[in-house]
Symmetry: D2
């Protein structure tokens, strides 16, 4: 697929993830094998101490990894996360979070990804999470479509 087709494919699919609008997350960049998602800090996504909830951090990190996977998949394949693990390195606070997902291994049935989440404030950036995720390649013949 051409870069502009890949870009459109990811943005179209992302627009269907209602949780992203609910949390306020947006796509920042789409490159072959790499996707970035940002989540502005807001009082809709917090845990009890006022930090962004680990689940919200995981949500954008997982989607950044999943869409990084989608950029390398054939037209007739959809992507489903089968597992991820996230290490939370520091409390997630700041102006916004930026998640970057990258493909590490593009296998026939599984795509393995690595992602990082940064808290950005003014001009500063600090890594607050690290994620590894496995994506299953699912034929669109199953009815699933991205």
């Amino acid at each position: 697929m051409q870069p502009h087709e890949i870009d459109a494919r990811v943005r179209d699919s992302f627009a269907k993830q209602s949780i992203m609008a609910t949390l306020g997350a947006e796509i920042l960049a789409v490159r072959p094998g790499e996707v970035e998602i940002v989540l502005p800090f807001s009082d809709k996504v917090l845990q009890q101490h006022g930090f962004v909830h680990a689940g919200a951090v995981a949500t954008i990190a997982d989607s950044a990894c999943g869409y990084a996977g989608l950029t390398v998949m054939p037209r007739d394949a959809a992507v489903l996360t089968t597992e991820f693990k996230i290490n939370l390195l520091s409390p997630a606070k700041g102006d916004r979070l930026r998640a970057v997902g990258r493909v590490i291994r593009n296998g026939k049935s599984l795509v393995i990804t690595l992602g990082e989440v940064f808290a950005e404030s003014g001009g500063t950036s600090k890594q607050v999470a690290m994620i590894t995720a496995s994506l299953m390649v699912v034929s669109t013949g199953t009815g699933l479509k991205d």
Copy 2:
């Protein structure tokens, strides 16, 4: 702490997690070492195929584990998730999701938990996810409070 104090502690802290109201999640049960959270299916929490997003599944699973940990913590301790891993076993769909978190190891500085998420529809229940999470015990002297 007495059971009713533990119950109040968890529910008070949960009420401060704004993301729970944003997603529509609620506490179902609090027992020593075990907490249940439910998330009704809604069009606010979906991924592109119409299933509940893995991040929303992870959010209630992580909180169920975190609050299970809080039930066994001394009064002057708060809890922070340092990492979790989730296996997504089946697409998350149905009337609601129910996450159960349980303490497996109550250590001095780390509490280790295991959780399950079930999709419930009518009278049926199907496990859709499994999570393991590590919680750091943080002194409330740091300013953090649950």
Copy 3:
């Protein structure tokens, strides 16, 4: 497959894992969906503090999970671990370690398992690790055979 065929299949495959003889591990039990492996404490498997190395704990835990998966697989399928996560709950010491692996989800292309490792000494038993593992179902047509 019949129980005695499943038992023979697992034990035959286990006998081909040279690392098990190297570490001193043995199969203790084979049941449909569940396998137990024991590792006697010895000075061949230690880390620097005199506990059993996390890698040795992981080795028997991973194999217990993998063989639990094999008990539910068709004759023409082999099993490969694609990922696992292990939480080390307490230092691994005692007379022997016993790992129990169980199938949680028997999917067409992925089998998900949960395992526990116990340190046993005299009549006592203490859980020292918890593992979750994903196994890929591989056709023996690929040349892989268990």
Copy 4:
């Protein structure tokens, strides 16, 4: 600590890990925040298909991460792995495996690491695994010493 002291500290501790001699693993390099371990292919470390067992891959990956952590720890601290997750990207075969562990976050009570394992054959190198590990910082006052 000086680089040569760090180097000696890691190598002395590694020499006490009896499992490394059992498997045939050796330290390749020690740098501040990064350690490399190699495992020559041998018939002592295999699984049933003739690949290096995931547990052996995990053993050197975990130790590379653990010792990377030790390079940044104060003199009076020892290091214990509390959890790790490993993604197995490709069958582990070749002349030798090389594991590289790096510190991602050097926290007061937890050090978070990321590691890669490569299969090397002749002049070629292929990544076969990715690991993330959490290390607990333990005071040597507890009796533990690295």
